[in-house]
Symmetry: C2
Subunit: 294 residues, 2 copies
């Protein structure tokens, strides 16, 4: 463990759950010498400092990225473009950049615009380890352990650059997958973005009712699980929805068509159609769960 860490200076923009856990993961693996943090909120940065997530609060982003080995942009996606534009002119020639955004096509487009002919230094990443908790206090060194991190490498990336970013996430314990950015966004519209939207919608609809307290008082474990993701970060999910708008609209329309079918079956009292739908769902859900357990 006294060997030289793989990374000297790591700069993290956004020291919340995603960025903080990345820093803690590298530190736990003893693979980083110094973590410098940037963020919008001084109180969060102070908290990250006190929790040992970062070693220093950065003052000048350009200066810090000039000699950094690795930069992680782990803010909500809506802030990434501004950060990329700010750091691009100062990026060291050996510095590699990755991100923690839940959407990838938009992040790639931002990077293409901001980094210009340094684009090859940026390797987009999506760590699949969200939680409904956010903020530095929620960060933990083992957040990524045995979790998927999807890289969506660019044609401009050298193999060694991708390998370096891969290595950083692997030191955090992650299992690396690679996808094309567009395919990534279509997949996550279906299995992540849509369920979040549906869960937010249910809780919002009930929360505006006059008898909400009565309703919530009888909500039980099924409701709790279904709505856990409705406690997710509103700004982050606004950005995800906007960034992946086209794919998400497509998924939402497929889902609405499915709901219309179920509504028709319910309206006409078609128990056989309902039971068949439920049985197919149960079987798929159980197979998936058992696959996970393997």
């Amino acid at each position: 463990m006294s060997s030289t860490p793989e990374f000297g200076k790591v700069v993290v923009f956004g020291v919340g759950l995603i960025g903080g856990s990345f820093a803690l993961g590298l530190k736990a693996a003893e693979q980083v010498e110094e973590v410098v943090g940037f963020g919008r909120s001084l109180s969060t940065l102070t908290q990250a400092l006190n929790l040992g997530i970062i070693d220093r609060v950065g003052a000048n982003a350009g200066q810090e990225v000039a000699d950094a080995d690795l930069v992680l942009i782990a803010t909500p996606v809506g802030q990434m473009s501004e950060i990329m534009t700010r750091i691009a002119p100062y990026l060291g020639s050996e510095t590699v950049v990755t991100d923690g955004g839940s959407t990838k096509s938009d992040v790639v487009a931002m990077a293409r615009s901001a980094f210009g002919n340094q684009l090859g230094q940026f390797v987009p990443a999506h760590p699949i380890a969200g939680a409904e908790n956010s903020g530095a206090a929620a960060a933990r060194a083992d957040l990524y352990r045995e979790k998927k991190v999807v890289l969506t490498p660019l044609p401009e990336n050298a193999a060694l650059t991708v390998a370096r970013v891969r290595s950083a996430w692997e030191w955090c314990g992650a299992v690396i997958h690679e996808l094309d950015a567009q395919e990534h966004d279509r997949i996550f519209a279906a299995v992540s973005h849509l369920p979040h939207l549906l869960s937010f919608a249910l809780v919002h609809e009930l929360a505006l009712r006059e008898n909400r307290d009565l309703l919530f008082s009888y909500a039980a474990s099924g409701f709790r699980d279904f709505t856990r993701i409705a406690a997710s970060h509103p700004e982050m999910w606004r950005d995800i929805c906007l960034a992946n708008r086209v794919a998400l609209l497509g998924e939402l329309d497929c889902y609405r068509a499915q709901l219309d079918e179920l509504r028709d079956a319910l309206q006409r009292g078609d128990g056989a159609a309902l039971e068949k739908t439920f049985a197919v769902a149960r079987s798929a859900r159980r197979n998936w769960d058992q696959g996970l357990a393997k």
Copy 2:
């Protein structure tokens, strides 16, 4: 603990999760002398016998209920009418009957039709302790501990009859609430039946796609929680949907209107509207969760 149990013979129709846990709860409290089980499947009954859930498999329902202290009907709601009709002519004058159905207006209507002038002996109940697992093997003595059981007493019930049924569920550890049957059904359409339908719909829609394996391979913890209830019992949920059809259609339409609003916001790229909806949902969800923790 050597005092006389409150109940001598208890007859349970349906020895799965709900009926089995009721029997085990009364046994753990030493408040029952003998549990007799009925069911459609001999293998389930044999399993219940081997697990100590029931003491005997019943052969003649009429004969068994004639001298029973308490009868629990814990089958899917679709089978209850037939059971009620079968036992009504033989019901002992001191025997009280309760049920474990998730809908109440329809069960009350069945009971009214089956029990006639013995209707007062039937006290409808809904234990709020479902799980996506079902069957005798899933039954446990503590399933109802600190869980709500909603009674929807009838005008025909004597206070002592209600007290006796209340007592049985309380011995299982439940916290008893009382609601009107119609109000019960409206509440549970919103906080339980609709979320189940929505979760089944999502998994079914994805399960029919050609690329389902790819999609499911990237599904993570948010998906897991959102879809846990999509592994629920298809026949049971068919019956619940049909039984509470009118209220559920109403809830489904409210929800579809909410989805339409979100779709419009997404279509026009209205981040402020999305964020506000998500923030209201998050706040309501967190308040509810904190209320539970108290």
